[in-house]
Amino acid sequence: MPELSAGDTAWVLTSAALVLLMTPGLAFFYGGMVRAKAVLNMLMMSFLALAIVPVIWVLWGYTLAFDGTNGGLIGGLGKFGLDGVGLDSMHAAPIPEFAFVAFQAVFAIITVALISGAIAERASFRGWAIFVPIWLTLVYLPVANWVWGGGWIFELGALDFAGGTVVHINAGAAGLALALVLGKRIGWPQQPMRPHNLPFVLLGAGLLWFGWFGFNAGSALGANGLASAAFVNTLVATAAAVLGWLLVDVVKQKHSTTLGAASGAIAGLVAITPACAYVSPIGAIIIGVVAGAVCALCVGLKYRFGYDDSLDVVAVHLVGGIVGTLMIGLLATESFTGGPEGLFYGGGVDLLWRQAVAAAVVIVFSFVVAFVLGKIIDATVGFRVSEEEEVDGIDLNSHLETGYELTSTSAGPTRGVPAPAPARAETTQGA
């Protein structure tokens, strides 16, 4: 057991808090992109992930992901309810195991929340509430074990520093599956469903960028050179991706859009996530620019293939995750990895194929399980709101609230005068 490092522990705990902030950030990033009548539902899907995942994480999440590995596929149940994790328990890095539990918990939250963007404005909240814990258990926990818990992808030697496969490819593939299960929104794609609050989108993107330093630099699990390099790579790849996306915007739309700038930042963050500790800052710029441009070109795919991935979870997270995961196979350099090298550094295709296998298996696994699970939920409790609820506004019907009360003459969410409060039987005077 290593001796505890106060500096490392402080950084990992701080990073966990930074990563937690990403989910409310994501909620605003997504919430601004939907129409005004669905903003609360969009925010609530993220907040429900914030509510459900930590409870599961403590009960059976952490143990199934990180209590050893059974056949490289899933962890054990020895730490159910964090049994045996105490004040003195240490992680392999010189930090308390509790710090690692917290840091990994917030990763699980955002991964699940990411999926919600693909099914915006039409998913039944009850269906989502059932999907979240089951998908987390059946997909996220095994994949986290494969990559970070010593499972088969770890053994394969594929590199994923902070979650290109576990978080982004995983969520992107599940998002695609659910978008197919739920079907298109009414009126899509004939009606333009433009974002109702782009300042929210940029605010959310800014919070995500900020929190992502905890995500990537925090994944070093220490306050050290590796964390600092990951920090710089995260900064510069994201910047380059904004430029890459805006370039495509200007060529294709003749305008640089705020939605493009925000999405470009996220695409860059996604792509540099697996790679941030394995490439040089120049490599990070290349990954960022490629991710920004490729993701920008991919947002049109849903129109060509006819799936309503409402907020482009596929184009940004699945595609961005694939770009980052594969480009490690090109740009990884020994001075950062301490071993494996990518194709451009003379390492041949050895690393590249391992990266491709890891990406492909996670895509298929997450997609298939999410698709089957989505179908089962849809067939039993229903995974889509009624036509009336969707058109009138999912906020009012699912949550009895609306995001904006802009007129004093509107009847408001209760559509009428509030019922008078029941008369008190007695009043307590002078108490």
Binding site: P192, R194, T257, V299, Y303
Partner: protein
């Protein structure tokens, strides 16, 4: 009395308003509107999709005027709102049978 209704390009509102004030019109009602005319809307590329924008943003301006002033008011609005490009808008006139100023109860041309 007549009600003059003009649907114009939003950025021309200020110019039209100033021109009407200079002419001596004391009040008006302005609402945001959207619509299309002979040329229909236009197409726009956004976020990977091409949309037909059928309804173009417009401003709808309503002025009550005395019968004698109608032709001149029409001229003032048309002059100020014109860019010469498509989508400049339209102006029409409808008879207003009665007008009453709420505060004083004045009626007819006195209420204008």
């Amino acid at each position: 009395m007549k009600l003059v209704t003009a649907v114009i390009k939003p950025f021309k509102l200020d110019e039209v308003r100033k021109a009407l004030e200079a002419f001596g019109v004391n009040g008006m009602t302005v609402t945001e509107a959207s619509g299309y005319g002979r040329q229909k809307g236009h197409t726009e590329v956004y976020r990977g999709a091409e949309y037909t924008v059928d309804l173009v943003p417009k401003v709808r301006l309503e002025v009550l005027v005395d019968d004698l002033d109608v032709d001149q008011v029409l001229g003032v609005i048309a002059e100020a709102a014109r860019t010469g490009k498509i989508g400049d808008g339209k102006i029409w006139v409808t008879p207003a049978e009665a007008v009453i100023r709420v505060r004083t109860g004045e009626t007819g041309p006195d209420a204008l």
